[in-house]
């Protein structure tokens, strides 16, 4: 088991393994998306209060969950980079950032689209959306720092520190934003948190959540492979592989 981990650290092995996994992951992703979309858009009944607009939740909530999960993973890989200096961890963290930022953006945009018919405004400073906005800034900061540093390995280590600092701060930010929101509660009561969710809506939500996770893995491997190729372009294994094509 331990040897497999060690093997995984080898760029060539990772590249080929990822290449073999991607089609399977992609297939599974598509299946779950189709199932989730069918269950969420067709099978699930309209909501008593929100009618059909609540269906946006099936995109909004999984996106928000993923935005948090991806940042946590980025920080975890950052730790691996700082402690063990594993190249693959550098690549995984770097590849995750744009995906996580996309999820965050999607959560914000769909949150806005969901909120407009409900609250009459395109944007409300509710706790969840405000937290997501700050998370987007954290992602963008990560990507900006990475882009600003020339040497790839230094960039990886610097962004690792940033990701860990960000991760430690996220609970504090969440707590402060939720607290701030309750203090100014007069404005709106957030409807994005359903008090208790009906099973017919919970199942599509979970299926979509799984679809999003599989999607993340698929895209992660695709981006990582490409990133690895770019970083290792003069390595012997890359040259051999290109010659064989």
């Amino acid at each position: 088991m331990w040897r497999w981990f060690h093997k995984l650290g080898s760029p060539k092995y990772f590249y080929t393994l990822a290449g073999r996994l991607i089609p399977w992951l992609g297939g599974a992703t598509s299946l779950f998306f189709l199932a989730g979309l069918y269950l969420g858009l067709v099978v699930a009944p309209p909501d008593y209060q929100q009618g059909d607009s609540y269906r946006i939740m099936f995109i909004h909530v999984p996106s928000a969950w993923m935005s948090m999960l991806v940042y946590t993973l980025m920080a975890f890989w950052g730790l691996v980079v700082l402690v063990w200096r594993v190249k693959i961890a550098e690549v995984l963290a770097s590849a995750s950032a744009p995906i996580g930022a996309s999820f965050t953006f999607l959560a914000l945009a769909t949150g806005s689209l969901w909120g407009k018919p409900m609250w009459g405004a395109w944007w409300v400073w509710d706790a969840r959306l405000t937290s997501e906005l700050i998370l987007l800034f954290l992602y963008l900061g990560f990507m900006a720092l990475e882009a600003a540093i020339e040497d790839r390995r230094t960039a990886a280590r610097a962004t690792s520190v940033l990701a860990l600092v960000g991760l430690v701060n996220i609970p504090i930010i969440h707590y402060s934003v939720y607290w701030w929101n309750t203090l100014h509660q007069g404005a709106t009561v957030t409807k994005l948190d359903q008090p208790s969710i009906h099973l017919s809506m919970l199942i599509p939500l979970l299926v979509m959540a799984l679809a999003f996770q599989l999607y993340y893995l698929t895209v992660l491997l695709m981006r990582s492979r490409t990133e690895l190729l770019a970083r290792e372009r003069r390595a012997s294994w890359v040259i051999e592989m290109v010659q064989e094509r």
């Binding site: 954290l138 600003a148 230094t154 280590r157 520190v161 940033l162 504090i172 930010i173 402060s176 203090l183």
Partner: protein, 227 residues
Amino acid sequence: MNGSSLPRALLGLLRRDLLIAYRHRGEVLNPLLFFVIVISLFPLGISPEGRVLATLAPGVIWIAALLSVLLSLDSVFRSDFEDGSLEQLLLSPQPLTLLLLAKMLAHWLITGLPLVLAAPLLGVILHLPAAAMPVLVASLVLGTPVLSLIGAIGMALTVGLRRGGVLLSLLVLPLYVPVLIFGATAVEAAAAGLSVSGHLALLGSLLLFAVTLAPLATAAALRISIG
């Protein structure tokens, strides 16, 4: 290495930074001036009406403080980076985290403390109720060091970069949000006559948290940026 060299090294560093600041005291006043000017812009941009200003005052003062500290962060490391003393710091046998704490203390004394002292006056011109003044000062005393400490991490990450200034803001401002929220709401609560012990406790916890962890992250970041 004799046992008393750590305290001596720390005091030496503190003295040095304060001395340099004193020699350039014109520059040191800039963040304070920025603080005053920014606050003055709000009545001009929004409304001079007393009631409106009083509502805005806690947030405005806190945001201005936050931006002023951000502006001053450059002074913490950049000149030391340019003259090589930052590298010397990394090579020192003393623990880097403690040396950085000393540096952060110096930075706060130079930047944060003037803001704290100026705040009541600015509270007056923003029609902040007198009852809120002590809490304003207390919240800034607890909060501005946190801003220095967090800002140092960002500074350490970007010190070697050419146009690190704007990037620094992007990295550090999201991390400032909790301090801003706890600080501003403390002052608002005081202005409304409510209890502030919870707010100040939260600020105090943030300070403790920052003092223990931020130097570690700053040290790691410096080693990466320079080492």
